[in-house]
Symmetry: C2
Amino acid sequence: MNGYPIGLHKWDLDTPALCLDAPALEQNISRMAKYFAERPASLRPHSKTHKCPTIAWMQLRAGAIGITCAKLAEAEVMAQAGIRDILIANQIVGIRKISRLVNLAAYSEVMVAVDDPANAEDLSAAAQAKGVRLRVLLEIDVGMGRCGVAPGEEALALARRVSELPGLCLEGIMGYEGHAVMIPDFEERRRVTEEAMAKLVSVRDLLEEKGIEVKIVSGGGTGTYTITGNYPGVTEVQAGSYATMDGQYRRVGIDFAPALTVVARVISVRGDRAIIDAGLKTLTPEFGMAEVVHPEGWELTRLSEEHGFLRRKGGPELHSGDPVELIPSHGCTTINLHDEYYVVRDDVVEAVWPIAARGCIR
Amino acid sequence: MNGYPIGLHKWDLDTPALCLDAPALEQNISRMAKYFAERPASLRPHSKTHKCPTIAWMQLRAGAIGITCAKLAEAEVMAQAGIRDILIANQIVGIRKISRLVNLAAYSEVMVAVDDPANAEDLSAAAQAKGVRLRVLLEIDVGMGRCGVAPGEEALALARRVSELPGLCLEGIMGYEGHAVMIPDFEERRRVTEEAMAKLVSVRDLLEEKGIEVKIVSGGGTGTYTITGNYPGVTEVQAGSYATMDGQYRRVGIDFAPALTVVARVISVRGDRAIIDAGLKTLTPEFGMAEVVHPEGWELTRLSEEHGFLRRKGGPELHSGDPVELIPSHGCTTINLHDEYYVVRDDVVEAVWPIAARGCIR
């Protein structure tokens, strides 16, 4: 872990290094917490972005009602760190995973998404065998076209089935407007998000009309929290990226502070081209190139496996060994490439936090 | 590590799981070894792809003269596994890394690429201080436009400088024809590769004419090994992907056996669309979508962070819980997302091998 780095200036770190600016992180967590403190909806931050129990606990202590995970293995890590109220916002299928899930349910308040009656039956059987009560949310497809049942009759039929299955406790519904969170124009984003949340809340109305209690209505992301978080009927929002932030959310105008950067180093220079020691194994490319924030006047044009290609655009000369700092375009997948955060305050490393749920894909 | 999986059928693994077919791997290693056994050039397999000392040792025992690494941290892992002759085919810059490098040189025969006189001076000073002799290859830019000095006078000047620096031992030169390895048309690939190797060998000729011995001329990759491996003057080839193979090399006609797959599981189905539990944290997208090899008649159309989208193209119906097997499009970066290989023979897991150099980006 980078040889006792506490007290080093971030540019003296062995590179590439994933850095997290502590004041920016604290400010983001506090700002989002305040937003939800003033509203009926609560915050259940998605931990798939930061993958770090330390940050999850900061969010909980600031007022979050629980956390969200994408994978069971992430939930196991968070539970081991003492976190109890955990939503796994995905289907858990297969006998090995379901067995792990009900074991986790024995020592945490885990919830899981369901969109298939056969899967619900498997969960019920395992929960009964283990003697636990497993909390369940129905996943509703609110327009993204990924997982989830359709609003209306299909949702109602599944809700009825889940309600009658022993070992399961139907807590409510969830729906993710993933097709909306990145829409650049805010008014269009609002329109698509409200359409999605209308579908979600219509399912709540239908179920309650039929006598099925819906305590939780969960949705939302960093790109839509101001919309979802104000939508009548939504009880909690799963935003995750706001804590660390990344380039893609900056591009669509989300103004949380960029806490996450990669510090890399120039390893070769030819004229107006510099090569850094950060490639596809350090920065992910699916949302475009990372933004160079130091030095100014240089641009990342391409990533190969182990190298990044910088082009000079009016910046100072670079030399072999010079540090370069970049904001990743996609925090979630970039963080997943790293084993630890170098936590920095006033540019000096003050802590190293393990990214304990990195690689937790199962 | 997936709960004592030895003896399980691969489709019963907790998913997603990175699988390696042992017979295919053995066949690939043996076939490449035979190819080089019959030629003047030797094989120095690149371990940045597999990142696994177990596989590196299989390659060495089959006849490889040493291994190649991309990063110092990978070389440290390989040296800890008892491997001595290691080329780090990159520049090592920065005081912390150089200090690690000369410490590694004290218990292995590590070689490093150099393309800058100031960096060579830093390496020399550190090697002297540590009392080791550091082996060096000059990196030549053979047309890729990444790292490396230009052939001709610039190369000669750097060779002279390195030769006179205490603590350094100039062993030869290297040049990677990365701009050629993926050219789909083989004749065009041959033309570009031969042009690159002509530049590389011209540097050897120039240096030897000036009295500087060049023992090693290193280059090549899986896409070009039949060209580079036969080019007069090239002494060793750094091919790496051939052992595990991947989709991109299959697409350009490289016919090593596809040993590497990901076994995933269907978590949600709506008509002709199935969602699997493998997304961007399990499969990398920069060379396109992974190829579905089981079941036939389904296609991967899109990856989001935690999900893969399959579309039915004549295949059988899929249900929640069904296994799906895919060949990753890019082995190097996909392997880097996983902690272990599930080694399979006749579809049954026989071993779990740690991907010990995963995440070794420094």
